[in-house]
């Protein structure tokens, strides 16, 4: 019997730890189309080139029992006093029920906002480095 997937079964984990206060995540994949059109062709032809993936997530700015911010691994990658280590990557797993995508990624931007009358949120953007490790989210 078929089923719909929803945010009720959604989750995001970073470096093996599930982030509890994730409101949404997005994942996007793209593949370059390299033109192989030659003289004499009357319709363009293409071959796949490089594949790339990126995404974003929105988390509530929330402190856990020990006082630390729950999304610290993500926020601290960019919001920090020192230089970001050049080889720093995080292992992401974005899932909904039995479907997921897993990859290593670099955090490319972090935005944190405070607005009167609302809770603080952080928006994090990431870019995947290397191939996907697991990609059942794509239907395979």
């Amino acid at each position: 019997m078929g089923k719909f997937y929803s945010g009720i079964e959604g989750s995001l984990s970073v470096d093996g730890v599930v982030i509890g206060k994730v409101q949404e995540w997005e994942f996007e994949g793209s593949a370059a189309a390299l033109s192989t059109t030659t003289l004499g062709d009357w319709a363009p032809t293409y071959r796949y080139g490089m594949q790339g993936y990126s995404g974003s997530c929105s988390v509530l700015y929330y402190s856990v029992n020990d006082g630390s911010i729950e999304a610290k691994p993500l926020l601290g990658s960019v919001i920090r006093t020192g230089k970001v280590p050049t080889n720093q990557k995080h292992r992401f797993k974005l899932a909904s029920s039995d479907r997921s995508v897993e990859f290593d990624a670099l955090i490319t931007s972090v935005g944190i906002g405070a607005e009167a009358g609302s809770v603080m949120r952080a928006t994090i953007a990431f870019t995947v480095s290397g191939p996907l490790i697991e990609a059942s989210l794509g239907g395979t």
């Binding site: 945010g7 009720i8 079964e9 959604g10 989750s11 995001l12 509890g20 206060k21 994730v22 409101q23 949404e24 995540w25 509530l60 009167a116 009358g117 609302s118 809770v119």
Partner: protein
């Protein structure tokens, strides 16, 4: 089950403002023989009956130790001049101001009852700020309403089956309808102690100091009992009220032949909304004639602590 009628409700109004106004006092601005002065302020900045705190400051706005010398020493309770003082004002049609010690005298505006003035020695900068006065009942209320609202922020996370909401900011709004009048009449046991609807018509047009007011919106008055009259004596003497600071947002007046003139005043609240219980009068310290004891700065009464 107790049922209360809306006729038990009343509004106590206290004039206030959250901003001050700075200007220059020149010797030519003061007319000691008329006990009248003026300085540069837009029309409608100050309203008759306002309790004004005047302070002499330096040109950069910082506090000055110099005296507010255009007010005669008799204007202060101790008979000595100071660098600041607080008085009720009467503002005439030309923007001239007279100072008074009581609200009723300010409304009456009699030159002979005004505080004596004298010519200042030189020009200097002053600030004028509305000080909270004593609460006066708002007269001829046809009806009023108040509602309190609470914002919510959605904190639903992935994995939640039910929406999660976080309670945020509190706000309020309300509407008052009064029969229009401009001359205060009797409130309780004091003649001329009533605010009128006309005050709100002036308040919404006050540019420099804003249109704020403080109000106690009384749900149950001291002495009110429900229709079945079964309250214990102490409970019947207790008053319940919302204490708010409001900002007037809309004032309307509709004219119709043969119909009474009514003002409709709409407001939103700013800052805290408090729902309070007031001790019955028996717990206020009273004088021999039964009157309440005012504080020297006219901001309240003296009460006794009591276990309820």
């Amino acid at each position: 089950m107790a049922v209360y009628l809306g006729s038990a409700g009343i509004i106590e109004l206290t004039r206030t403002a959250d901003r001050s106004f700075r200007s220059t006092m020149d010797p030519g601005d003061v007319n000691p023989s008329e006990r009248r002065f003026s300085f540069d302020f837009p029309n409608g900045t100050f309203l008759t009956g306002d309790r004004l705190a005047l302070r002499r400051v330096n040109a950069d706005g910082t506090s000055s130790a110099q005296l507010l010398d255009f007010v005669a020493p008799s204007g202060w309770g101790d008979g000595q001049q100071h660098s600041d003082g607080t008085w009720y004002v009467h503002v005439d049609a030309l923007g001239g101001i007279r100072l008074y010690n009581t609200w009723q005298d300010a409304l009456a505006g009699s030159p002979s009852a005004a505080i004596a003035l004298q010519a200042p020695g030189a020009s200097y900068t002053i600030t004028a700020e509305l000080a909270d006065g004593v609460a006066h009942c708002l007269g001829q209320i046809a009806d009023f309403s108040i509602s309190t609202d609470r914002d919510v922020a959605d904190v639903t996370s992935l994995g939640d089956a039910f929406r999660q909401q976080w309670s945020g900011l509190i706000s309020g709004s309300g509407e008052i309808r009064c029969f229009w009048d401009w001359r205060p009449s009797r409130c309780g046991d004091v003649d001329g102690s009533q605010e009128t609807a006309q005050y709100f018509h002036q308040l919404i047009l006050r540019q420099q100091l804003g249109s704020e007011f403080k109000a106690n919106l009384i749900i149950k008055r001291d002495g009110t009992v429900p229709l079945d009259d079964t309250l214990p004596q102490l409970a019947s003497r207790t008053a319940l009220f919302y204490a708010v600071t409001g900002v007037v947002t809309n004032v309307g007046l509709a004219f119709s032949p043969g119909e009474p003139l009514q003002s409709t005043i709409q407001f939103v609240t700013t800052g805290e909304i408090a729902l309070r219980y007031e001790l019955p009068s028996a717990y206020l310290l009273l004088q021999e004639d039964g009157g309440k004891l005012f504080l020297q700065d006219s901001t309240g009464y003296v009460a006794l602590e009591a276990a309820l």
